[in-house]
């Protein structure tokens, strides 16, 4: 369409342009063929199933139920928690803090039953966020927090590694090999190694180490204590995937022409200026692609959560798995997957727009 509006010049070029277009489609053909042949049916099926009440491995008839699965997954409400009062009508205070009523009293039960997903304080009042499927809402929140923090740290550490490896220094080859180790270990196994290191008594590395250093009592519960769960799992993920970033960024660095630096040196630019005026802008396209894929990957994180947290805490993908296998609710699981798909798409578009990778 764009071609036909730019009339005269386009017509001149049209033969060439048409040839270019034909070549492009021929080059794309094998990839698209494979993707569609294998991929399209399973993908379409997920969309279809998300609007049904299909049960996994069951002879129960499947019915179309519209958006009921989405309603069950996404219904949320915010309610204020009343202060707990004693018989005299005074607020109950324990440990110097006002006590609040349980969420059970304030969240609606009809027509859908809400459960507490989060509680938070705001301007001296206490609120509860209720959700029909609190596990799912929590999994979405946890996965997004996990992704944002982990990907930011990975990018930072990956960049440091890449910049370090791009200069010559003593031990560079050792470092290059070290960098590959976390990536080369199969995720399921590396999760086990870390789980083993995070054990809740002194037979685990961290408890043994902290105990020697005199921190804690040697029984720190890294993977069960809600406050330590996220930092622990992020540490594992950053370890595992910072090398991915580093490798891609290293390749990106290699394509930056050296002459640019030489020219900058002639102008008397210092290291920091060179980094911000040459390295970073030229590295941005590579970094954008790396970011997109790391983000999409960690939003779909599965193995890591499965091994380390099991059913204590879900990621979006382990939630979908649980709903399918234990709950056998294939429709609901598919709807959860479609929501994951949409969240991923939103992230992808934000990246494209802000980093201009699709320009």
């Amino acid at each position: 369409m764009a071609v036909s509006t730019k009339a005269p010049k386009a017509r001149q070029l049209s033969d060439l342009a048409r040839q270019e277009e034909r070549t492009a489609w021929w080059l794309l053909f094998p990839s698209l063929l494979l993707l569609f042949l294998i991929g399209i049916y399973p993908l379409a099926q997920v969309f279809y199933l998300s609007t049904t009440n299909k049960r996994f491995a069951s002879s129960q008839p499947t019915e179309f139920i519209g958006f009921a699965n989405y309603r069950d997954l996404l219904s949320m409400t915010v309610r204020e928690l009343p202060v707990q009062l004693d018989e005299a009508g005074q607020p109950v205070i324990e440990d110097g803090k006002k006590q609040y009523e349980s969420w059970v009293r304030v969240l609606p039960r009809e027509p859908l039953r809400y459960r507490a997903a989060f509680e938070f304080g705001f301007f001296g009042k206490r609120y509860v966020i209720g959700a029909v499927n609190a596990d799912f809402i929590k999994s979405v929140w946890d996965t997004i927090v996990f992704t944002v923090v982990a990907v930011a740290l990975e990018t930072l550490i990956g960049l440091i590694i890449a910049l370090a490896l791009s200069r010559k220094f003593f031990g560079r080859s050792v470092m290059r090999t070290a960098m590959l180790v976390p990536w080369a270990i199969i995720t399921v196994v590396s999760s086990l190694i870390w789980e083993w290191m995070f054990k809740s008594n002194r037979s685990g590395f961290f408890n043994a180490l902290f105990d020697r250093l005199g921190w804690g009592d040697g029984n720190t519960v890294f993977l069960v204590n809600p406050a330590l769960q996220m930092p622990s799992i992020i540490a594992i993920d950053v370890w595992k995937t910072a090398p991915f970033m580093a490798l891609l960024l290293l390749a990106g660095l290699a394509t930056i022409p050296r002459e640019l630096y030489e020219a900058a040196e002639v102008d008397g630019a210092n290291k920091i200026r060179k980094f911000f005026s040459i390295t970073l802008p030229l590295l941005l396209p590579t970094m954008a692609v790396a970011l997109v894929f790391r983000t999409l990957d960690s939003l779909r994180v599965f193995d890591l959560f499965q091994v380390v947290f099991g059913e204590r805490r879900y990621s979006m993908a382990t939630f979908a798995q649980f709903t399918l296998v234990s709950n056998k609710d294939m429709g609901l699981s598919a709807a959860a997957s479609v929501i994951i798909f949409i969240i991923l798409f939103i992230f992808a578009i934000i990246y494209m727009r802000s980093l201009k990778v699709d320009a």
Binding site: R55, R115, K199, V224, G310, R312, N327, K328
Partner: protein, 427 residues
Amino acid sequence: MKKVFLALAAAILAFASAQEINYITGNRGSDVDYATRKAQEYMADHPGVTINVIQGPESATDRAQQYLQFFEAQSGEVDLFEIDVIWPGDMAEHLVNLYDYAGYNEAAPDFFPAIVANNTVDGRLVGIPYFTDAGLLYYRQDLLDKYSLSVPTTWDELTAAAQTIQDGERAEGNPDFWGFVWQGNAYEGLTCDALEWVASNGGGEIVEVQEDGSKLITINNENAIAALEKAASWVGTISPNGVTGYQEEDAREVWQSGNAAFMRNWPYAYSLGNGEDSAVAGKFGVAALPMGSGEGARNAGTLGGWQLAVSKYSANPEVAADFALFLTNHENQLDNAITRSLLPTRTAVYEDQALLDSGSAFMAEFLPVFQGAVARPSTATAPNYLQASQYFFSAVHSVLTGEEDAETALALLELDLESLTGFPTAQ
């Protein structure tokens, strides 16, 4: 020409009489070897039958997913499955009724009635008990002697004894010592442990089948609340805080390194505990789990174990059923008990002299425990058992970690179970 015809006819005949079945075994080291050996014995007696032994996935979730995948596709590629004791209800519609096959009507009464009942869905026997399991109390005889204590028979006695030993051992300079270790992670294993606390305290079995066949949600009662409060009081006192992340192996590691006075675990820890590399070899004994103090208190160990089941989509169900019967006959159960420490499901095997003379003799002592094991309400809540169990262990886990008090947690659990199953509640 005639020759060709004859050869062809022979080939077709051979093809028609050749019966091939695929059998998914467990994943324990010896499972495939054992199954292959038994398959060869069976094939030697049944020419024309081919049995392919396939090693199943390790984790129960992976395995359930694979099986359901086969059922969803109505695939007959696997004929004979090993299924967990909690699956018959959920998978019943994809499994054949074994009573329709030769030998089962005669054999069924010889098996533990509780397991047969568990495997019977709407009058159909969908799995034949292969081997059983039940929760046991492991205790350190040497430490009981050291502190002049006897094997506890109630939870209160256990709590007191565990505290005494823990205080004593810590005072002697072992900061890693704990009184009692068990499985407190939020997973199916916690359902097993918590069912034992509740049932042994007269708190019922979560969802119960009434005499008239109707089902009732009974979990929200005082005895159950008391049982959970008791268990929650262990966390951080006689049990480590980390116990809320423990599975079977975590408990066994602490126990086997000599750092626990008592452990709740399955019988598999017995042989390992007496292994050459174990710090507790020869120093421990096993007993029935203690009981509570509430009305109707009794000893209760949760029923575990695996069943053999034949797929409805199988092309050769009669061969698969016959092979399953062969695997569970007296001789083979004896073999399994002696060579692999797997608990027989036929009562008569426990009285066999060959078993009593073997290293697995301890099994005979606990026949009453195994026979009286409490089944999880998997058949009663089918096909929603796994979800019901997840509600249950999540509720219990929130009590153990102190996020919720027992009363609220069980009240909420009752609501959840009500909306999941539609069964009435006890009140």
